[in-house]
Symmetry: C2
Subunit: 328 residues, 2 copies
DNA sequence: GTTGCTTACTAACGCGAGTTAGTACGAGGG
DNA sequence: CCCTCGTACTAACTCGCGTTAGTAAGCAAC
């Protein structure tokens, strides 16, 4: 920076003013131009660490999540990183599944970098107990929530998603719609089922509990549950699967019986896992979890928190849109 | 740090010596203990930015990659991050697919953080043209290579993987083994096919070019190619698919014909995409791309480069192990 | 021709650490 | 009693930058 100043024939302070675009410091255009030119010629690149030190402001947010276990965790990261870049911030990513460090140690590392805020993201929608250390910095939970609601949280609208999926089947003329649910103890299962029932009721279709079967959240679980539904005398004409993996198994069960999708049985999934949904044959109509948007909203809330704006810690829910493909 | 010094009744310098474990500065155990205690009591957390500034050493590596497009990119990150943590380094991740910034802009950001090295990772094995800016810092290519070989590169051993897959089928007694290849212009396709042929030749089985068909790298492509192979009078008893998505399509083709996997037709995939391979029914035997290990090796090479150790820029290949499941 | 007001800067301090050169103290040797 | 020689520290500088307080030059007004 000193070299740039010398080359432009001004002081280091002036260079700082120009490069930081401080309008109040009345620098004439001619001087400004000289400084910018000198910086370009010398290939000057500011030192982010030194700047953070002097400005008492790091321009960094942190995010902790499992990046490998769930393939869609990266979507949260992408959404958050893009939004952060728009704000001139950079996102530091700490994996919470490392073998060489605990989750708390990872957060500790982030705090040593003096991050201005932290996003704590789960790979599947659930209640979590965040490590105490999280509370030392403005924090937002994404795709999870803590039991006592003391931290702001952003979660997918499972109920709405369940409604969208069911409505799509109703719109296609189905009235006997099977539902394969996940582990009934988790929010995804509860919410999606509630949405399913709401949509049926709203359409004046009676809810038949015998059409609801539970299964493992795997392809095998979906296969088994689908078999149960399909082997009834009055088999449903459509199946809403708790997730895409189960839909994968359901496809097998349907095809095995010589039935065609969607002609004989329509299928809707949930999660929109590209690798599955886009490659099943026929391609699977499903409901997307809004990971990117949740990440982006997380950064927005962080910005508000860091700016000291009051935030109602109420949980924010984000819509889960229906992704139309060819299985309905 | 000053507070810690005061509480321990020593100078700031002494605190620095203790916390950085400088053995040369003869600090007696008693003093050391007092300092560590004071730091703990005050909840002292060093400021990484300030430390980097003073020590002229950031302890950061950077990695640039597309994190969303390919689901396994995160494995490279995980492998690299774990190894970096072991070295006391932290990994800064820049997505090269952001809408708000170009790839070069992302790297620029990393350089402003004064990273000590850069990993440039591709999501599929290929030749790349790296932006010039990459050469301003020690850099290693992962899962890709540049045309003129001027940068060290780490790539998967496609040939070995093809050999493993084919050998597994030979071991199971198959001699008529179909191969569904990817776009013949890419290294993955060339290498895997070469491995396939090498294994056959080594086993004394003659290579029948008519058993090799090309297809789109999708489930539909795999389906079409598998149909072609299966509808021959002398259909193969095993199929080696260019990747797992194609295997997914091949499964459909096989099942449609009332054939059983692996009894009538055995299948081997490539890529080990968990979401597919672990959930297909039966579960798919496939070859894994060593993403985590490539990431880890990348960090190791970076450490060597940054330490000024000479490195032959020869490309390093990493073994692609066979993952046994139930389709053979 | 002093005062006062802009305009266009600069000197100097501070951020939180690492590091070098130097010092005070006590023990042991002559 | 003086002179080394470790031992156990400390003062002061430095890293690269942001920022505050201050100043010199030019001009208009009285």
């Amino acid at each position: 920076m000193g070299d740039v100043a010398q080359r432009a024939g001004v002081s280091r302070t002036t260079v700082s003013f120009v490069l930081n675009d401080r309008a109040d410091a009345g620098i004439p255009d001619e001087t400004r131009r000289r400084v910018i030119e000198a910086a370009a010629e010398l290939g000057y690149r500011p030192n982010a660490g030194a700047r953070a030190l002097a400005a008492r402001r790091s321009d960094w947010y942190g995010i902790v999540t499992e990046i490998v276990t769930a393939p869609f965790a990266v979507d949260v990261i992408k959404g958050a990183q893009d939004r952060a870049l728009q704000q001139g911030k950079f996102l530091l990513i700490a994996s919470s599944e490392s073998e060489v460090a605990t989750e708390a140690a990872g957060i500790e590392k982030l705090l040593e970098q003096r991050i201005e805020g932290l996003i704590y993201a789960a790979t599947w929608h659930r209640a979590v107990r965040v490590p105490e250390i999280v509370r030392e910095v403005p924090a937002v939970l994404v795709n999870c929530f803590d039991a006592d609601g003391s931290l702001p949280a952003i979660v997918p609208d499972e109920v709405g998603g369940g409604r969208h999926a069911t409505q799509r089947l109703l719109d296609a003329g189905h009235t006997r719609i099977g539902l394969i649910t996940l582990d009934p103890a988790i929010p995804a299962s509860v919410g999606r089922r509630q949405g399913y029932e709401e949509a049926l009721v709203a359409a004046g279709v009676s809810v038949d509990p015998s059409l609801v079967v539970a299964g493992d959240a795997t392809a095998d679980g979906g296969y088994a549950a689908a078999c149960e539904l399909l082997d009834r005398a009055d088999r449903p004409t459509a199946i809403f699967c708790g997730n895409d993996r189960m839909a994968m198994g359901a496809y097998d069960a349907i095809k095995e019986r010589g039935l065609a999708i969607p002609r004989d049985v329509a299928v809707v999934g949930f999660d929109n896992q590209e690798l599955i949904a886009a490659y099943l044959r026929p391609r699977l109509t499903t409901v997307a979890l809004p990971f990117q948007e949740m990440g982006a909203r997380g950064v927005e809330m962080l910005a508000a928190l860091a700016a000291g704006q009051p935030i109602d810690t109420a949980t924010v829910t984000i819509d889960c849109p229906l992704i139309e493909r060819s299985s309905v």
